[in-house]
């Protein structure tokens, strides 16, 4: 299609040929980036939902806040009475709190992966979903970072794990994987917040220019005086590129180190060299599922149907299938080698999973993580059906939570001395604290979505400007201009 430079992209005339015109209509319905609209309408489409405070919003907020308060109350009780109120015992010293820690860190992987890796790879459909994913990363990491503190016996002394000079004059021990963990997560959280914030700047400036009152004052401060000059855009582009490349290895390091908390120990079932990559893939798997859930929910609650279309769920669904295949590959690796070795303790563990008391959990995990994605996600109809992909994503969360549950409390119940075997059953305090942690992420997400633009408007706009359609023979072919070329 011929385009002239003086016509704005949202006012380009349709082709005169009816067949091409139909093709164009079809492409516009399919692809956000080929469906440009008047910029103020797009701004409005993002800003208006932030003012929606229906009774449903207040109900959800109140419910989530109540659960978070319950979290606080139970944690306080636990600190006063001792960890004995949980179901922990000997030898299962790590249980639901550490399961949550690993699970939430895992959720925190997808946001960066979608934003940074897809950005580096120049995959265009990522544009409208990057903010929702990055936000989920930051909040999941905050929830995850809480759990080691909830977990320790003396939470008020947890700052002793930080490498800060105090009157105690004892540095934390860098022999301990827990300190590696702290270092990796702190780095990742800092990078994630900065990465999300740099991407947020132009949108904050946009919001500043369209609002009055406290919102205006807030955005004015947060936008750091962004005016949209050539130089600012160039700097932002450079900063985002640097972060995108730098944050990917950090992301890989985080879940590798989380896996080392287990793999470095002599505990049978943990002492595995494949844990590093296996955990990273597991993290991305559950994280991608969680991002799909977040997208479905904000799309519905904030009426973002213009921005979030079938193509995004389709793309994320393919990603999910790929991750399911990779996860199964690593799981097979982790399972086959000890099984072939037939060491007595490993044998006991495998029997426990295959035919023992943990079998229901194990089979449910295999169903959620392998059988279900493999049998459904190959179909485009399933991937683009919102209820279907939402259900699959929820079940993948169940499956990945169970995977961590099997690795931690179930495995810890068995060791070399049958005399010291044990069974862990979650008690109500840690169960409610777990619910509270999910509520905390939800609450932060709900509040954030009413204060900050959930769709990166500038990214969408940039994509629409760069994207074009070229006529080749009787077909219209999407094309993309490379900035800087």
């Amino acid at each position: 299609m011929e385009t002239t430079h003086d016509v704005p992209i949202w006012r380009r005339p349709p082709p005169e040929d009816t067949e091409l015109s139909h093709q164009l209509e079809h492409e516009r319905r399919q692809h956000l980036l080929l469906d440009p609209r008047y910029p103020l309408d797009i701004d409005g489409g993002v800003l208006k939902p932030m003012y929606r405070h229906t009774w449903r919003f207040w109900l959800v907020t109140a419910l989530l806040a109540g659960l978070v308060l319950l979290f606080g109350a139970i944690w306080t009780t636990q600190m006063i009475l001792g960890l004995g109120i949980t179901g922990l015992n000997r030898p299962v010293m790590w249980a639901l709190y550490i399961v949550n820690f690993v699970y939430f860190i895992g959720i925190g992987h997808a946001g960066t992966f979608i934003s940074a890796a897809l950005r580096v790879l120049k995959i265009e459909w990522r544009r409208p979903i990057s903010r929702a994913a990055e936000t989920l990363t930051v909040f999941a990491l905050i929830a995850a970072a809480m759990f080691p503190v909830v977990h320790v016996g003396r939470a008020w002394k947890a700052y002793w794990l930080l490498p800060i000079p105090t009157q105690r004059e004892i540095w934390p021990s860098y022999h301990s994987p827990l300190i590696w963990d702290f270092t990796a997560i702190f780095t990742y959280l800092t990078c994630s917040i900065l990465f999300a914030y740099i991407g947020l700047l132009p949108d904050l400036a946009m919001a500043r220019d369209h609002t009055i009152g406290w919102r205006h004052r807030l955005y004015e401060v947060l936008a750091l005086g962004w005016r949209g000059t050539e130089r600012e855009w160039a700097n932002q582009e450079t900063a985002l590129n640097v972060f995108s490349y730098a944050i990917i290895p950090v992301m890989f390091s985080v879940h590798t180190i989380v896996s080392w908390d287990f793999a470095m120990a002599v505990q049978p079932g943990w002492h595995s060299t494949v844990f590093g990559p296996y955990f990273v893939i597991g993290a991305l798997f559950s994280g991608a599922g969680a991002v799909i859930m977040a997208l479905v929910l904000i799309r519905k609650a904030m009426h973002l149907e213009y921005f979030l279309r079938d193509e995004h769920f389709d793309g994320m669904g393919k990603f999910l299938l790929l991750l399911s295949l990779t996860w199964a590959y690593f799981y097979f690796n982790d399972y086959l080698v000890p099984w072939y070795g037939q060491e007595p303790v490993e044998k006991v563990l495998h029997q426990l999973l295959a035919t023992g008391s943990a079998a229901p959990l194990w089979f449910l995990m295999i169903f959620c993580n392998v059988v279900l994605p493999w049998t459904t996600l190959w179909s485009r109809r399933v991937r683009t059906s919102i209820p279907a992909i939402f259900t699959i994503s929820v079940l993948i969360q169940v499956g990945m939570y169970l995977e961590r549950y099997i690795i931690i409390p179930v495995t810890l119940g068995r060791n070399e001395f049958p005399y010291s075997w044990g069974v862990y059953l979650p008690n109500w305090p840690e169960s409610l604290i777990t619910v509270g942690a999910f509520a905390l992420i939800g609450l932060l997400y709900v509040l954030f979505s009413r204060i900050f633009p959930m769709i990166p408007v500038w990214e969408v706009y940039e994509g629409q400007v760069l994207q074009g359609l070229r006529r080749i023979g009787r077909a219209l072919v999407p094309t993309k201009a490379e900035p800087g070329d």
């Binding site: 015992n89 000997r90 299962v92 794990l161 470095m264 002599v266």
Partner: protein, 239 residues
Amino acid sequence: MPELPERKWTMVVNLDTCTGCNACVVACHAENNVPIVSEEEVVRGRAMHWIRIERYWEGEWPDVKARYIPVMCQQCERAPCEPVCPVYATLHSQRENLNLQVYNRCVGTRYCQNNDPYKVRFFNFFDPNFEGLLKEQLNPDVTVRSAGVMEKCTFCVQRIRRSEEQALVADRPLRDGEVVPACVQACPTSALVFGDLKDPESEATRLVRGNQRKFRLLEELGAEPQVYYLQSGHSAVNE
């Protein structure tokens, strides 16, 4: 301060003479202020015994034999529990070859228990509750641990320390058999022997050196445990 000599404290457990009477367990509780947990807590798997008698059945009924094996902290030379502690609450005394536990450094990550193949570390799930007269018999030489910290057998480090100091004051070397941990003191059949492997004349060295009955628990893990067991049921006559 004079230089104290290097030690290699060790425990030798003669399984032939152990009758499984549990006197060592009781003595340890009394000496080390080990909390006594309620019945329900024991059922929940939270019993606390720095030394425990593991009982295994051998053979089929009626030709069945009970085997007892006392298990306490193995004071490993290369203890897996030590490097994983992020706050140096458990660390090694190079001079004495003891695996120390510093209660007031512990924040309770419980990583040491996960990485302890012998499962001889105990977590204080609640504050200890010494009822009535039990409070009067607490040992003033040993800290009473609060909720949220790990604890384990110390080889009665307070007794080791006292004996070494007495020897130092008297300006004489520590004699073999002078340090007697509570479990050793209480054992009616002398199945437990405590001593310094660095001392070539000690009873412990004599029992360990060249003894074909000796073995250590989970030796294949390479933790170098410092508790030696002497196999039972293998008299020289049978072999």
